[in-house]
């Protein structure tokens, strides 16, 4: 009799630290991605849920896949080093009609060129950008700073200690990039330019 009781107690103790089942984890992950106001990384999810990163990774991927399969109005995607729920491109016209939003003011050609140089050459200084573009980029840089697409990256330790610039997290979000390695390599553009 005493033996039986012991066994039951052990079972109870084991139950207390039973791992959460996958459906439960997936539920939690979905809710957390929804609530986070910025793309949330696998690491942050794992920390909040106190689970292994690898496990969370597979749960998120499974969840993103299920959204994909369902083909509803929403998607879970990887952006700026994290996961985010957003609408699908297919419904953008309806969404735009609701938000009465026009495609947000786009960047000028000068700003786009400057941003391309900064993205590929970061950290990069104003004189270095001038060297590549052949034209002053001051107002473009100011616009990019104001739009938070670029950030300062400290002074360069050369004569005059010029300020260096690099791209921001907003840059990744704005251009739908997972991270900087998601940018196509600059050499890839070589084939496109004049023969």
């Amino acid at each position: 009799m005493a033996e039986t009781i012991e066994i039951i107690e052990e079972e109870f103790a084991a139950e207390e630290k039973q791992p959460r089942d996958l459906a439960d984890l997936s539920r939690a992950v979905e809710a957390l991605i929804f609530v986070a106001d910025e793309p949330i990384s696998t690491r942050a999810l794992a920390e909040v849920l106190e689970e292994e990163r690898e496990l969370i990774e597979s749960v998120v991927e499974e969840l993103a896949g299920s959204y994909e399969e369902r083909r509803g109005g929403l998607q879970i995607r990887q952006i700026a080093g994290g996961w985010q729920i957003s609408t699908r491109t297919e419904v953008h016209e309806d969404v735009r009609r609701l938000l009465k939003s026009r495609p947000s003011a786009k960047l000028s050609l000068a700003a786009l060129e400057t941003l391309a140089v900064i993205a590929y050459k970061q950290p990069v200084t104003v004189p270095e950008i001038l060297e590549i573009r052949g034209v002053q980029s001051a107002s473009a840089i100011k616009t990019l700073l104001e739009k938070r697409l670029i950030v300062t990256k400290g002074h360069k330790e050369t004569v005059g200690r010029p300020m260096q610039y690099g791209t921001s997290k907003e840059f990744l979000i704005h251009f739908g990039l997972k991270d900087l390695t998601d940018l196509p390599s600059i050499e890839d553009f070589e084939d496109l330019v004049s023969p």
């Binding site: 929804f34 609530v35 106001d37 985010q84 729920i85 957003s86 609408t87 699908r88 491109t89 953008h92 969404v95 938000l99 026009r102 495609p103 947000s104 003011a105 786009k106 960047l107 050609l109 000068a110 786009l112 060129e113 941003l115 391309a116 140089v117 993205a119 590929y120 001038l130 590549i132 573009r133 052949g134 034209v135 002053q136 700073l145 938070r148 950030v151 300062t152 921001s168 704005h174 251009f175 739908g176 990039l177 196509p184 600059i186 553009f189 070589e190 496109l192 330019v193 004049s194």
Partner: protein, 259 residues
């Protein structure tokens, strides 16, 4: 519908600058501006269907200068960088006209004066292609929307900051501060008439007034100037005289009828 859309959707390809020949020597810039001298050069080279590795420098320079002249005629400010490039083109052109040094060895490689320019153009063109890629990516991204605000966001109505924000915020505070100081000065500004009235009241109330002390009680330069004029004025027009009881002593304003 189409026209309406065009108003706010920037098209990378359509808004790229272009020169359209209206008649033989009347050129016209169609839309926008070239992003820089290299952008213009690439356009001219493509227009001439020239090989970028063998740029017909005389012809391209001619076209380039034409464009600059046209901009000036249209009263469009030509950025200094365009002029710098014009000078470089002319320099390359003249170098190419120089006869080969007869003393140089037959097999000696002479560097093409155009080489540096070609390298810059090729490098620039890569980034121009990258800019186009960014443009296309952002167009796709504009069809994707994040969720609307939810309750928890409201507890978090805060701004994300960068170093640039810190500096801008600091400058704004300084500017605000300056405005406040200016406003105070403005409030305390006093007219000459008021200053004379004030001075008169003080002199006749006490019978005399120490000029140095009076000046010290004032705060701004402008008030001091007004006070100085007021002193001269009151001495000239009223029964008040300036006196100094001994050399180097304080100057006193004294009402004459009070003895």
């Amino acid at each position: 519908m189409l026209a309406e859309q065009e108003q706010y959707s920037f098209d990378f390809h359509k808004e790229t600058a272009e020169i359209v020949a209206e008649s033989h020597d009347e050129l016209k810039v169609k839309i926008g501006e070239f992003a820089g001298p290299l952008d213009l050069l690439l356009y001219l080279i493509r227009q001439e269907q020239a090989n970028i590795f063998d740029i017909p420098i005389a012809r391209i320079t001619h076209e380039y200068l034409n464009y600059i002249r046209m901009m000036k005629r249209l009263d469009i400010a030509v950025a200094a960088d365009f002029l710098v490039m014009a000078a470089q083109l002319i320099e390359i052109k003249s170098k190419m006209l120089l006869p080969r040094d007869p003393m140089a060895a037959e097999d000696e490689e002479i560097e093409d004066p155009r080489k540096e320019l070609v390298d810059r153009l090729l490098e620039y063109e890569k980034f121009k292609a990258a800019a186009e890629m960014l443009y296309e990516r952002s167009t796709i991204e504009h069809a994707v929307f994040p969720r609307g605000t939810i309750e928890t966001d409201e507890h978090n109505a805060e701004v994300n900051a960068t170093v640039f924000d810190i500096l801008t915020v600091f400058q704004k505070i300084l500017a605000r501060h300056k405005d406040e100081v200016k406003m105070e000065i403005h409030r305390e500004e006093i007219s000459l008439a008021d200053m004379i009235r004030n001075l008169r009241t003080r002199i006749f109330a006490a019978g005399e007034l120490n000029v140095a002390e009076f000046f010290e009680s004032l705060e701004t330069k402008r008030e001091l100037v007004t006070a100085f004029v007021a002193v001269l004025e009151i001495v000239r027009t009223e029964s008040v005289k300036l006196l100094q009881r001994k050399t180097f002593a304080d100057i006193i304003l004294k009402a004459e009828n009070s003895g």
